[in-house]
């Protein structure tokens, strides 16, 4: 007989060990999958986890980890605030798009003027774009009791339509021979979110991600608002009695996560991506949900989880190219990571009993 028994108290050890166990189990079963595909499993795992960090061309991949991880961390920090309080913003992808559109819109409006004020204005506009897009589900929830999960998710598709419309119409590059897509902001010095040190991968979005981690940590650990967020998630009734205003909390959590997603969008569009295009969004807003949970909704955990996700993306692409692994196998591998995390997470609150269970 195998039975699950609820622990009297959540296990702190397991809470910390679950992500590590999940990574190990993923390596094991992922390796098995790769072996079944006829690839050397050790070589594949080594390529995914080792090559980007310590391989021959690590000098190129390490900065890429920052570029790929920064938007994930920035968005996930914002999401984690709401998730902790039981406020579910699933539409960060849409807020990310709107941030990029607002930011790029400001930049393109000033073209070809050169001024040091343009980039800061774009950042503000991007933050505003993400924030206002998240305020739609927030206000609807507060005023009319709508479900923020549905509203925020549906607004992703609305944002995608805006993105397509902007790429094909208002923001289309007038020198682009009728092809969709805006001017490349990388070629417009005042609007370019360039690397702060060439070759380092360190652009303003990466800086913002690190600041967000610190901000998230201080807020949750030291600030009264952080206390309100935690207590609302753990015991909503107790929170109400202790004077937490649930409406204000909804507005804050959704607004803040939208703002950070918007920032991620504007830093991406003005930096690594460079252009408003129809396919600008590549799912950072959704992947960030995984990152937030993989990081246990803890700012430092999210930082590590963002790095790990970025590693599997970059290492996965290297494995495709070098070993001929199919993209689908890499995606299964990433899926395993979340699956095992959820599985091991169970043991934080439950323990396994082998043998006979005692009759209560």
């Amino acid at each position: 007989m195998i039975a699950l028994e609820k622990r009297p108290e959540p296990s702190r050890t397991f809470s910390l060990a679950a992500p590590l166990l999940a990574v190990l189990a993923t390596m094991l079963f992922g390796g098995l999958l790769f072996a079944l595909l006829g690839k050397d499993p050790l070589e594949a795992i080594r390529t995914i986890f080792w090559e980007p960090l310590f391989g021959e061309f690590a000098f190129f991949y390490r900065p890429q980890l920052l570029i790929k991880g920064a938007p994930l961390v920035l968005i996930a920090i914002g999401l984690s605030l709401g998730f902790k309080a039981g406020i579910w913003n699933i539409g960060a992808e849409g807020q990310y798009i709107m941030g990029a559109l607002f930011g790029a819109g400001v930049g393109l409006a000033f073209y070809p003027m050169e001024s040091v004020f343009i980039f800061p204005l774009m950042v503000l506009a991007g933050a505003f774009g993400g924030w206002i897009w998240a305020m739609i589900p927030a206000v609807l929830k507060v005023k009319f009791g709508t479900n923020e999960i549905l509203v925020s998710l549906m607004l992703v598709y609305v944002a995608e339509q805006f993105l397509a419309s902007m790429s094909l119409g208002l923001m289309k590059n007038p020198e682009g021979f009728g092809f969709p897509g805006s001017r490349n902001l990388q070629q417009y010095a005042s609007a370019h979110n360039a690397e702060l040190i060439t070759g380092s991968g360190m652009h303003w979005g990466v800086v913002a991600a690190f600041i967000a981690v610190i901000f998230g940590y201080v807020l949750l650990a030291r600030h009264r608002l952080g206390f309100a967020i935690r207590v609302t998630g753990d015991a909503p009734r107790a929170a109400a009695f202790s004077g937490v205003n649930p409406a204000r909390l909804v507005l804050f959590c959704l607004g803040m996560s939208g703002l950070l997603a918007g920032l991620a969008g504007v830093f991406e569009v003005s930096g690594p991506a460079g252009q408003v295009t129809i396919d600008f969004n590549v799912g950072y807003g959704f992947t960030a949900i995984i990152v937030a949970f993989l990081g246990r909704l803890n700012p430092v955990g999210i930082l590590l989880a963002g790095g790990l996700m970025a590693l599997t993306y970059i290492g996965g692409d290297i494995a495709q190219s070098k070993l001929g692994l199919p993209a689908a196998a890499i995606q299964v591998f990433q899926g395993m990571l979340l699956f095992f995390l959820l599985a091991f997470d169970l043991f934080t609150n439950y323990r396994l009993r082998l043998g006979r269970t005692e009759v209560a």
Partner: protein, 363 residues
């Protein structure tokens, strides 16, 4: 072009970056290494599938003297830039980037690796080490349009557009012009899917069109989902897109446009091996074999098939151009005078419908 101080500094930095890579790129064995960057999965049955067939043809043709690598489902933008850089770092001599959205990333990476050759499909930006290539798919659309006009009983042809870009609009115009020639009562209904490959969205688009009375469906998206939707409906004609999609022949798929990249890829690899590679702009059609017309099945009446094949022959030998006047634009203004043909510049940037098509190009 004027360089700001900052741009000049960046240029210098990228030159240093390039110099640090030059050594590993040369320290390769004599195998020619060729990289392919794909926008979809190799099993999409359409666009990427055909590029991958081209890659396999290169391997077969050159045997052990080449090594090919590929990465599939690469998002356009910074991810593609990283994948290309990675291939160049790993010693690729020639890299094919097979989606329009890879244009700026290709140019960026090419600037950092002056010794690596790049080939970008369907774009318009070139450099000393970047060529562009594309196929005149609109020639195949003309044949599809002709057959569609003859096959429709409801006089309604459905068209699944991917993105409203010149490439796709050109195809719609070409198909419409020739559908009207073979059937003056035909109407087009156009649905924009905003994707190159998404079986679920494509199936939805096909179903919407069928519900609106379309009994012929043309698609500019890459999956076989519309074929499956048509098969389910029972009496709807389709055409294979990018690939033959012959698993749906003889009906609903009655013919197809096939992209055949193999001859071009083999020629370009040979040029790299011979040291004769130069930056070029290639736009080939049926005549050069880059666009193939899949077998016209027996579901098509014999005389229609004969007309379609005659049209194909005239497009192939250049005696007929798919855009020959008199043609008007949608707003009624003149596009081409009688007997005039569209030049490549006009075709490349086509952003208007011809007269008779209803609806507007989304902005």
């Amino acid at each position: 072009m004027k360089f700001t101080k900052r741009q000049a500094a960046k240029l210098l930095a990228s030159a240093a970056f390039a110099a640090s890579f030059a050594a590993p790129a040369f320290a390769q064995d004599d195998k020619t290494k060729i990289g392919f960057v794909y926008v979809g999965p190799v099993g999409d049955g359409g666009w990427t599938y055909e590029h991958n067939k081209g890659r396999l043809a290169v391997e077969e043709h050159f045997g052990d003297s080449v090594e090919t690598v590929f990465v599939e489902s690469v998002a356009e933008g910074p991810d593609s830039e990283r994948v290309m850089t990675q291939m160049a770092l790993d010693g690729a001599d020639l890299i094919f980037t097979t989606s329009f959205g890879y244009m700026d990333p290709t140019i960026n990476v090419a600037a950092k690796f002056p010794n690596v050759k790049f080939e970008h499909a369907t774009g318009y930006k070139r450099a000393d080490n970047v060529s562009t290539y594309s196929a005149r798919f609109y020639e195949g659309r003309a044949i599809q349009g002709h057959i569609a006009g003859k096959m429709t009983k409801s006089n309604t042809v459905g068209y699944i557009g991917s993105y409203p870009i010149p490439e796709v609009i050109r195809g719609i115009n070409s198909a419409f012009i020739h559908a009207r020639k073979s059937n003056p009562d035909v109407q087009f209904k156009i649905v924009w899917a905003y994707t190159w490959f998404d079986p679920a969205k494509e199936a939805d688009a096909a179903k919407v069109l069928i519900e609106q009375g379309a009994d012929v469906i043309l698609q500019h998206t890459d999956s076989t989902a519309p074929q499956a939707a048509a098969q389910e409906a029972g009496n709807v004609v389709t055409f294979g897109q990018a690939s033959d999609m012959s698993q749906y022949a003889p009906f609903p798929r009655v013919s197809s446009i096939i992209d055949d990249w193999a001859p071009y890829y083999i020629a370009r690899v040979q040029a790299v091996k011979d040291g004769t590679w130069t930056s070029t702009d290639t736009w080939d059609g049926i005549g050069a074999g880059m666009v193939g017309i899949g077998e016209i099945s027996d579901a098509v009446p014999a005389e229609v098939k004969a007309e379609a094949l005659a049209l194909k022959a005239s497009l192939a030998d250049g005696s007929y151009h798919a855009f020959t006047g008199p043609l008007n634009k949608q707003d009624g203004s003149e596009f081409l005078a009688a007997g005039a043909t569209a030049d490549d510049g006009t075709l490349a940037g086509m952003n208007f419908y011809v007269e008779g098509i209803e609806g507007e190009i989304p902005q």
